[in-house]
C-alpha cells in the first residue's frame, strides 16, 4: 500500500477485508432473499406470508451491502492501511485455533476434559508456564465449574466418556 509508515509491517489491507465483508453480507442478503421467496412474500388468506417481512429485510441488506462494497472499492470513508499486521493476525490465530479445537471437542469429550486440555495448552504453549503451575489451574477450574454448576445449581453440563466411566 502507499502508506509509508506501514512498510515495515505487512498484512492484509483494510480495503481487501472491507470488500470481503461487504461481499459476504451481500451474499447473506441474497440468501435471505431466496429464503423469503421460497415461503412466499405476498399476501395469503391469513395476511402477509412468512417471507413478507424478511423479504424487505433482505432488500435493505443487499442495497446497504452494495453501497459498502462501492465505498470499499473507492476507499470512501474507510480507514487506509492495514487491517492488521501478519504478526497481529498470528497472535489472533493462536487463540482462534485452540479455541476452535476446543469447541469441536466439547461434544465428543464433554466440557470438563476439553476445558482441562484448553487451559493446559494455553498456559504451557502460549504462556510458557511449567507443568507444576499449569496443572492446578487446568484441573481446578473445571472441578470448580462442576461443583458450582452440577452440584450447587443443578445444571448439567456436557459430559464425555471419562465422566460416564467415573459415573459422575
Amino acid at each position: 500500500m502507499s502508506d509509508e509508515s506501514h512498510l515495515t509491517e505487512s498484512g492484509p489491507s483494510q480495503r481487501i477485508v472491507e470488500t470481503a465483508v461487504a461481499l459476504l453480507t451481500l451474499a447473506f442478503g441474497l440468501l435471505v432473499l431466496l429464503g423469503s421467496l421460497q415461503v412466499g412474500i405476498d399476501w395469503g388468506v391469513e395476511g402477509p406470508k412468512p417471507g413478507f417481512f424478511p423479504f424487505y429485510i433482505s432488500l435493505f441488506i443487499i442495497v446497504a451491502s452494495l453501497y459498502n462494497l462501492m465505498q470499499a472499492m473507492t476507499l470512501g470513508g474507510i480507514k487506509e492501511g492495514l487491517f492488521s499486521s501478519w504478526e497481529q493476525l498470528r497472535r489472533v490465530m493462536s487463540v482462534v485455533v485452540p479455541a476452535t479445537a476446543y469447541v469441536a471437542l466439547v461434544p465428543l469429550l464433554g466440557i470438563y476434559v476439553s476445558s482441562m486440555l484448553l487451559i493446559g495448552v494455553f498456559m504451557t504453549w502460549l504462556g510458557r508456564y511449567s507443568l507444576v503451575k499449569t496443572l492446578p489451574i487446568a484441573v481446578g477450574v473445571p472441578v470448580l465449574a462442576y461443583i458450582i454448576f452440577e452440584r450447587y445449581f443443578q445444571i448439567p453440563l456436557p459430559k464425555g466418556p471419562i465422566e460416564y466411566w467415573l459415573d459422575l
Partner: protein, 500 residues
C-alpha cells in the same frame, strides 16, 4: 403518590435476606466481569443468565441488574490503573484517569470515578422512578401500529445517532432481523429460512450471539493488541476518599450536565459509550481548566463516568416501560424477562408490580452497595488484573462455552459462539456496530409481529403508520432521528462558520 408506596413495597422485597445476598454476589461478579478483558456487561449477564432459571423473577433480575451495575463500576478500575478500558464506555475515563494515576493520584481518580458513577446512576434511577410509570401508562394505549412505531424510532436513532457509517449500521441491524426471522414463523406456524437444516428450526438465540460477538470477539481483539498489563498500584484509604469527596462538589455543574447527557443518550439507544465521550468533550470545552484536560484533571474523570453510568442505568427505562432496551445489556435483561415468563412492555407496571418496583428499589440499594464494595476492594481487583492473559483467556473461553451450552443444553451452540466470535472480531475491525445486531435479534420477532398486525388491520396499507396523531408523530420522530446527520449538516451550512 402511588409510586412512593410501590417503591416502598419494592424496598421491602429487596431487603429480604436472600435478595440482599443475591445483590452482593451480583455486584461482586459484575465488578470482576468489568475488570476482566473479554468479559463485559452484556456477555457477562448472558453467561450467568442460566444460573437464574431456578430463581424467582424478582431475585433473578436483581442479581442480573446488579451484575450490570458492578460491570459499570469495574470498567473504571482498569482505565485508571492500567490505561486499559475494561468496557468501551470507560475509554474516555482513561484520558484523565490514567495521567492522574501516573502522578500518584490513583486513589483520588478512583474515588472520583466511583463517586461520579454513583451520582450518575442515582440521577438515572430517580428519573426512572418518576418517568417510567408515566411512560408505561401512556404506552398502554398503544396499538400494533404505535408499537411498531416505537421500534422504528429505536432503530432509526441507532442509524442516525451512531458514529459508525449509516450503511454499516443498517447492514448490522438487518442481519440481526434476518437471523431473528430464521425458524418458526410465529404468526403462521410455517418454517422459513431454514433451507432444510433441522438445526435451524429453533432459530438463532441472541444469548449465543451476545456471548460470541462480545465475549470471544473481545478476547480476539485483546490478543491482537498483545496487551501487557503493567499498571499502577493503588491503595484507597479513607482519608483520600474523604478529601476527594470534599473536592467533588466543586464540579457540580459538570456533574449535572453529564447526568442529563447520560440519561438522554441512555433512553434513546445511543448508549453509554457515546454519552461518556460527549460528556467529556463538552466538559473540556466548558471548563475553565479545559486546557489541562488529558493531563490528569479530576473533572475529566467526573464527566465521562457520570454520563456513562447515567446512560447505562437509564437504558433500562425504555426496556421496562416500552419493552425496547436501550443497550445490549438491557437487551439481555429483556431476554431474561421472556425466559422467566414475563411479557416486557407497559403491562409489566400493571401486572408485575412486585417485579418492577423490586428492580427499581434494587437499583437504589445496588448502587450504594456497589460504591462501598468497589471503594474497599480496589487492591484485590487490581491484583486480579495482574493475572497474565494466557491464564485468564482460556478460563474466560471456558466460561463462555459453559454459558452458551446452558442456554439450551445444546452442544452445537458452543460451536456457534466461535462463529459469532470471529464474525464479531472482523465486523468490529471494519467499523460495523454490534449493538444494533443484538437488539434487532432480540426485538426482531416482536417488531415483525407489530408490523404485520398493523398491516392486517389496514388490509396492507402502509398508511396505517400515519393514521393518527400519535403513531404519526412517533414515525416522524423516527424519520428525524434517521436523517439526523443530514439535518444537522444542512443547519450547519445555513449558519455562518465560526472562526476557528
Amino acid at each position: 403518590m402511588e409510586e412512593v408506596a410501590n417503591l416502598m413495597h419494592g424496598f421491602a422485597t429487596v431487603l429480604e435476606p436472600f435478595n440482599i445476598g443475591v445483590m452482593i454476589v451480583g455486584i461482586l461478579l459484575g465488578v470482576i466481569i468489568g475488570v476482566l478483558p473479554g468479559l463485559g456487561g452484556a456477555n457477562g449477564v448472558a453467561i450467568l443468565l442460566p444460573l437464574t432459571f431456578s430463581m424467582s423473577p424478582t431475585s433473578a433480575i436483581i442479581m442480573l441488574s446488579c451484575i450490570y451495575w458492578g460491570a459499570l463500576f469495574g470498567g473504571a478500575i482498569t482505565s485508571v490503573l492500567f490505561n486499559i478500558p475494561g468496557e468501551p464506555w470507560s475509554v474516555a475515563t482513561t484520558f484523565d484517569g490514567h495521567p492522574m494515576a501516573q502522578n500518584g493520584r490513583a486513589g483520588e481518580a478512583l474515588t472520583a470515578a466511583f463517586t461520579s458513577s454513583f451520582v450518575g446512576a442515582l440521577f438515572a434511577v430517580i428519573v426512572i422512578t418518576l418517568v417510567a410509570p408515566l411512560v408505561a401508562r401512556f404506552a398502554l394505549q398503544f396499538g400494533a401500529a404505535e408499537k411498531f412505531g416505537v421500534y422504528f424510532l429505536a432503530f432509526c436513532s441507532f442509524v442516525g445517532l451512531s458514529k459508525e457509517p449509516p450503511a454499516k449500521t443498517v447492514v448490522s441491524m438487518m442481519i440481526g432481523f434476518a437471523l431473528a426471522a430464521v425458524g418458526l414463523d410465529h404468526m403462521t406456524g410455517q418454517l422459513r429460512l431454514t433451507f432444510g437444516f433441522t438445526e435451524l428450526l429453533a432459530g438463532f438465540d441472541f444469548l449465543i450471539a451476545v456471548i460470541g460477538l462480545f465475549g470471544i470477539g473481545e478476547i480476539l481483539l485483546t490478543m491482537e493488541e498483545g496487551l501487557q498489563f503493567r499498571g499502577k498500584r493503588a491503595t484507597i484509604n479513607p482519608r483520600v476518599v474523604f478529601q476527594t469527596w470534599l473536592e467533588l462538589p466543586r464540579y457540580w455543574a459538570t456533574s449535572i450536565r453529564s447526568c442529563i447527557i447520560g440519561c438522554w443518550m441512555g433512553i434513546t439507544p445511543a448508549g453509554a459509550t457515546p454519552a461518556s465521550f460527549m460528556s467529556y468533550g463538552i466538559a473540556k470545552r466548558m471548563s475553565p481548566r479545559g486546557k489541562n484536560f488529558g493531563k490528569g484533571e479530576i473533572e475529566g474523570v467526573v464527566a465521562p463516568e457520570t454520563a456513562a453510568h447515567a446512560a447505562g442505568t437509564s437504558a433500562l427505562l425504555p426496556m421496562l416501560s416500552l419493552g425496547v432496551p436501550g443497550s445490549p445489556t438491557a437487551a439481555v435483561l429483556l431476554g431474561g424477562l421472556l425466559i422467566w415468563g414475563l411479557q416486557p412492555g407497559p403491562l409489566l407496571f400493571v401486572e408485575q408490580k412486585e417485579f418492577v418496583w423490586g428492580l427499581i428499589a434494587s437499583m437504589y440499594l445496588g448502587n450504594i452497595v456497589g460504591l462501598i464494595l468497589v471503594l474497599t476492594c480496589v487492591p484485590l481487583l487490581a491484583a486480579m488484573l495482574r493475572i497474565p492473559f494466557p491464564v485468564i483467556a482460556p478460563i474466560i473461553l471456558v466460561l463462555c462455552a459453559i454459558g452458551a451450552y446452558t442456554v439450551h443444553n445444546n452442544p452445537l451452540d458452543v460451536v456457534m459462539i466461535m462463529v459469532f466470535g470471529v464474525l464479531g472480531y472482523v465486523l468490529k475491525k471494519c467499523d460495523y456496530p454490534l449493538a444494533p445486531l443484538v437488539l434487532a435479534l432480540v426485538l426482531g420477532d416482536k417488531a415483525e409481529e407489530a408490523f404485520r398486525q398493523a398491516l392486517l388491520g389496514s388490509q396492507g396499507s402502509l398508511a396505517v403508520f400515519w393514521s393518527n396523531g400519535l403513531v404519526g408523530s412517533i414515525m416522524l420522530l423516527g424519520l428525524i432521528a434517521l436523517f439526523w446527520p443530514i439535518i444537522q449538516n444542512s443547519v450547519a451550512r445555513l449558519r455562518p462558520r465560526p472562526a476557528v
